[in-house]
């Protein structure tokens, strides 16, 4: 399998008053044409990992790595100008809440065509046609009407589908989705995920799916990295989650209340300080 | 207690008493302010100014009121007059130093009266809503509709000229913006869960406004007041310039500029030196205000 992205020994550091704080502490992974899940709790560094790949870490954060290669481009040495070209054309990112990612004073249609026109030389009419087709692909009924709506006029689920359409329209090779459905209702969640899943699989893209929800990720990914305190503690093949060995992974699985198998008490996770210190598991292929 | 252990005590994650918690909160704010070089520069200037005002009798080389018509309009550096002399031969340096007392007095009084009035009116209007809100805010609008200096002039004309009346006039014209800020803050605060939570404990409006809303409004008011200080000093100087503030021979900086105006072409220092003093104190307040914004912003403190 050719890999789209290789990351070796990635670190994200923030200087603080009392020394420096490492949000990501030396993780290595590669991404092929597959769906890769990154799971962890708040503060595990999972979102920082996603942002670091596109160099979207805000100052004073510092990203270092031994290697960070996307296709033929070395991301470590890429200038801000090159990064802007990469973002969108080669790799896109979907954030948690569509409310904050869509521009409130532009119509949905103009935002999608804008996204397309910045990356490709097209006529406006052509761009519009492709935007409508893309909205159709994310299962939006009556896309012509939705094109003329403003973001506050669409529901959360539709907003997130619009985001997916916008991010996928320049045909990137890699899609990074950071908690794309946690702001949505359960029933809408599945619909949005299925659409995203289908598009990503059909186009043979690489997907990095960042989430706190281990069960959800295991349904939609081929491979899962479990992160704890800035390091990868375990790499699981999807569907083999029940074979997970690391006590943290098992603890996460057991702490979710299960409707069909009720327990009088939930298992509280006992955190072992040794987990922090254990070396990061490599997820290179 | 040694330095390191005091620092550790102040930076403790788990304070052991109320006093330690409060001291630690102040210390954290101080550390943040200290990180901002420009704000520290402003603070240093203001501290020096306060010291100058306190130690004026020691710093002044001459009596600020003694005239010497033989030595009028002498340039800076002439026979021990660091900043020269004015049209009546008074030493400008000494007058500036004594003038700092007046400027700080004005600033302190206005800074106490105007924001307090604005805070009370704004938070009550914002929290109570309904007809009280409408009545109080329209009252505020009436004050806002007058040009500030004109309104201050009217007050001074009615009350008589003098520093106290000038301060009162400035305060009465300066509160409406604070009321608006306090009301806007209150509107966002009153719907937050921590206000709902205290309501569910049976707390009344007076307690909620003074104990829960005020602490969150005060920081934005303090920032705004510090940034407005420059304007207040300039208004006071303006009133002095128009002859309605401090009365001669009082060494108020605005009045000094006004006196020097007549000679500005030939004897630049007479108006320029007090002008520079006004400029320095205004700039210092602005720099400090900017730094305080970083320290006090409640949105940042929540994170």
């Amino acid at each position: 399998m050719t890999s789209l992205l290789d990351v070796e020994n990635l670190r994200v550091t923030f200087p603080t008053r009392s020394g420096s704080f490492e949000a990501v502490r030396g993780i290595s992974f590669s991404l092929g044409r597959e769906r890769l899940g990154i799971v962890g709790e708040s503060g595990s560094g999972k979102s920082m990992t996603g942002r670091a790949i596109l160099k979207l870490i805000r100052k004073p954060g510092i990203v270092t790595a031994d290697r960070m290669q996307m296709g033929g481009t070395d991301l470590l040495t890429a200038s801000e100008r090159e990064m802007r070209r990469i973002r969108g054309r080669h790799a896109s990112m979907i954030m948690q809440d569509p409310k904050f990612s869509l521009n409130p004073v532009m119509t949905v249609g103009s935002q999608i065509t804008e996204a397309l026109l910045t990356h490709e030389k097209l006529s406006r009419a052509e761009a519009r046609k492709r935007a409508v087709a893309m909205l159709d692909a994310v299962a939006i009924r009556d896309p012509e009407r939705v094109m003329s709506l403003y973001p506050h006029e669409v529901s959360g689920g539709m907003g997130q589908r619009i985001m997916i359409a916008m991010m996928l329209i320049p045909n990137p090779e890699i899609l990074i989705a950071d908690e794309p459905t946690s702001a949505l209702d359960v029933s809408v969640q599945l619909q949005v995920l299925e659409i995203m899943d289908k598009l990503v699989t059909d186009r043979g893209m690489g997907l990095i799916f960042i989430s706190h929800d281990l069960n959800l990720v295991s349904n939609f990914c081929d491979r899962i990295l479990i992160m704890y305190a800035g390091r990868i503690v375990e790499v699981c093949q999807a569907g083999k989650l029940h074979e997970a060995k690391h006590p943290y992974t098992i603890g996460l699985l057991n702490s979710v209340p299960d409707l069909e198998h009720p327990r009088p008490r939930l298992d509280a996770l006992q955190r072992d300080p040794a987990w922090r210190e254990a070396p990061s598991v490599s997820a290179l292929t | 207690m040694s330095d390191t252990s005091l620092r550790a005590w102040l930076l403790a994650d788990a304070p052991a008493s109320r006093a330690q918690a409060r001291a630690a909160a102040w210390y954290a704010g101080w550390l943040k302010l200290r990180g901002n070089t420009l704000a520290m520069a402003g603070l240093v200037v203001l501290v020096l100014l306060i010291l100058a005002a306190l130690l004026a009798p020691l710093l002044a080389t001459q009596d600020p009121f003694v005239q010497d018509l033989g030595a009028r309009l002498k340039p800076p550096g002439w026979e021990g007059h660091i900043f020269g002399t004015d049209s009546l031969g008074r030493d400008i340096w000494s007058r500036i130093v004594y003038g700092a007392r007046i400027s700080l007095y004005i600033v302190a009084l206005v800074a106490l009266v105007a924001p307090l009035l604005g805070l009370i009116i704004g938070t009550v209007a914002g929290y109570m809503g309904g007809i009280i809100d409408v009545a109080l805010m329209r009252f505020t609008d009436i004050f806002l509709a007058f040009p500030r200096l004109i309104l201050a002039l009217a007050f001074v004309a009615a009350l008589g000229a003098g520093i106290e009346n000038a301060v009162l006039a400035i305060s009465l014209t300066a509160w409406p913006p604070y009321a608006r800020i306090a009301r806007a803050e209150t509107l966002t605060i009153r719907n937050s869960d921590f206000i709902h939570a205290i309501k569910l404990q049976g707390a009344g409006p007076l307690r909620i406004i003074t104990r829960h809303v005020w602490p969150l409004c005060i920081s934005s008011l303090v920032i705004r007041v510090t940034l407005d200080m420059a304007g207040i000093i300039l208004t006071a100087a303006g009133l002095g310039f128009l002859g309605l503030g401090a009365q001669p021979p009082s060494p108020e900086w605005g009045a000094m500029v006004s006196e020097g105006r007549k000679y500005i072409l030939d004897y630049w220092w007479v108006a320029t030196i007090p002008g520079l003093a006004i400029f320095t104190i205004s700039l210092a307040f602005n720099l400090l205000g900017d730094g305080l914004r970083d320290v006090l912003d409640p949105k940042e403190a929540g994170q």
Binding site: V186, D213, G239, P262, D267 | P215
Partner: protein, 253 residues
């Protein structure tokens, strides 16, 4: 005597032509000592019901009574000794400038307790925090710790009914487990009545004995937890919710 009785409750937002009915003629009863759940998606009106009971919304019609006392527009001081509430977002429900000590101390003073110092320490112990947390500010606490403080605040007046508005939806799953265990323990120790709102059927199924399902402001179905666990719902919407919830948890094999 039932703990909470709701008859024909409607809640309105807005005025005139833009008025909208957020809750439409809701009826339900919560027995004393019971744990009752309200489930629905965002905008279903489930939190609004809770806020109407707490007295945070006053544009309602219908009848509500708590422990046999009918509720009017204004809540009497005695009401706050019986009913308390825990909010959804632990980051928004604590005053950013007040220490834990001040939060709890003020509440105890408002309710007229005299042995405040001892009570604060006991409350912190009860919610599993301990004395070390007493003088901290909210920004020195994690989300789970903040929610524990919020629970301690709700328990301070020794209420008999606690309204829980999505108390764990802003927390990580492992922290959620700790908070849910804490809530179960407290209910067992103190014989509390819970009225809990959540969008998460797993959490509701774990915590509650009986469940009301809400959609578009209406209660579409009332069912026992056993029925829900066995996935035996009558109403199509409930079945749809159960189906989505199960599918997102179960591994597709």
């Amino acid at each position: 005597m039932s703990a909470i009785e709701i008859r024909d409750l409607s809640v309105y937002f807005g005025e005139g032509a833009e008025q909208m009915r957020a809750v439409k003629s809701a009826n339900f009863t919560v027995a004393e000592g019971e744990s009752f759940g309200l489930v629905g998606e965002s905008g279903s009106g489930k939190s609004t019901v809770l806020r109407a009971i707490a007295g945070l919304v006053d544009s309602w019609t219908g009848e509500m009574s708590v422990l046999g006392t009918p509720l009017g527009r204004k809540r009497a001081p005695a009401f706050f000794k019986q009913v308390q509430m825990v909010f959804q977002d632990p980051y928004a429900s604590l005053h950013p400038r007040h220490t834990v000590d001040r939060v709890l101390g003020e509440v105890l003073k408002l309710h007229g307790f005299s042995d405040i110092d001892a009570r604060i320490d006991r409350l912190l112990d009860d919610v599993g925090l301990g004395k070390g947390f007493r003088f901290r500010y909210p920004h020195q606490l994690s989300g789970g710790q903040r929610q524990r403080v919020a629970i301690a605040r709700a328990l301070a007046p020794e209420p008999r009914i606690v309204l829980l508005d999505e108390p764990t939806s802003a927390l990580d799953v492992s922290v959620q487990a700790e908070i849910l265990n804490l809530l179960s323990d407290l209910r067992a120790e103190r014989g509390l009545t819970y009225l809990m709102v959540s969008h998460d059927l797993g959490v509701i199924g774990h915590m509650c004995d009986r469940i009301a399902v809400m959609q578009h402001g209406e209660i579409v179905e009332l069912l026992d937890v056993e029925k829900m666990r066995a996935l035996q719902a009558e109403h199509a919407y409930t079945r749809h919710l159960l189906d989505s919830s199960i599918r997102s948890v179960r591994e597709i094999s």
